[in-house]
Symmetry: C2
DNA sequence: AATGAAATTGACAATCAATATCACTTTCAA
DNA sequence: TTGAAAGTGATATTGATTGTCAATTTCATT
């Protein structure tokens, strides 16, 4: 989205950082995604446009996008982090199929409210939280192929 | 607890594994803890008893304890895993102070029920979930020492 | 108690995602 | 145009965890 690209550029300027060709490209590729994507996978996409860009720069740019409030970093299960758009989207949590890796987003105000209540009771002030539900999606429940229970395709491109 | 030690020995026998001096020692040290502890920290404790035991064996024994249903492995925030007793304890979730690392356990049936409802609506069957609340505890809110927001003492011994 | 096959151990190397280093290149305000 | 400061990318490094493998230990069986 042109708007997000512009916001990113603004963040760079306001922070006294430079707008480089690489950052433009990487941000553009990121904004073109609509799922949860790993740095590695994003790197592969960017490589298609410019073979010279390094994975390290992808990591660095994703960090900048987080600082700009345009990306969220998620740590599902184990292994690598996944990134997704933040921008004006409202908060959401995730339900993940432990068999095929499918990720479904959801939002539940009642749960959010109860979390606040729990925290208050414990004398805490919540800054952020992580709620992840792991289980079998409809498709993976149907096919009785047991499997290993390992996540198979999280973050694959 | 003597009981847990016995259950561990039983698991070893039933699984055709051997009861070694190292496993006894490491399990004993683990059962003597009452918090969330890292493999490294447990290793340091065990080292006090027997300098020759290797960190690798601590990792292996913790895996066995998990398989025996006597330990849970938790991945809070970043870095290393923390382990805690499982045994007959019921399920619980965690509230973590992002400033001092304090971990408080809680349980909320209403939240659990709502999670099931969400999953059902999405066509999933929950196998397990992760709910972590991060924020400031009473003490760390009082002292206005801003800080970095980084967790300071999680898993320290 | 002795035996020996199979499991276990611990030193060390390997992995894997992510970060640090650093010489060279690019940006951009002046 | 210019040059100080920031950025890049190849490479090395980190840190937690796991794999390898020769030497050691366990334990069911003699
Ligand atoms: Mn999401
Ligand atoms: Mn706990
Ligand atoms: Zn599935
Ligand atoms: Zn605190």
């Amino acid at each position: 989205m042109q708007n997000k690209q512009h916001k990113f550029r603004q963040h760079l300027v306001r922070s006294g950082l430079k707008a480089t060709r690489q950052r433009e490209l990487i941000a553009r590729a990121f904004f073109a995604t609509n799922t949860h994507i790993s740095a590695e996978a994003l790197y592969r996409r960017v490589s298609g446009r410019d073979r010279r860009i390094g994975l390290v720069t992808v990591y660095r740019t994703l960090k900048l996008l987080k600082e700009a409030g345009l990306a969220h970093e998620r740590q599902f299960g184990e292994g690598r982090a996944l990134f997704e758009h933040a921008s004006s989207d409202r908060h959401h949590d995730h339900m993940i199929c432990s068999h095929c890796g499918k990720i479904v987003e959801f939002e539940n105000c009642e749960i959010e409210a109860l979390q606040e209540e729990v925290a208050r009771r414990l004398g805490f002030t919540i800054q952020y939280h992580k709620l992840e539900l792991y289980g079998r999606c409809k498709d993976c429940r149907a096919d009785a192929s047991g499997g290993t229970g390992r996540i198979r395709a999280v973050g694959a491109r």
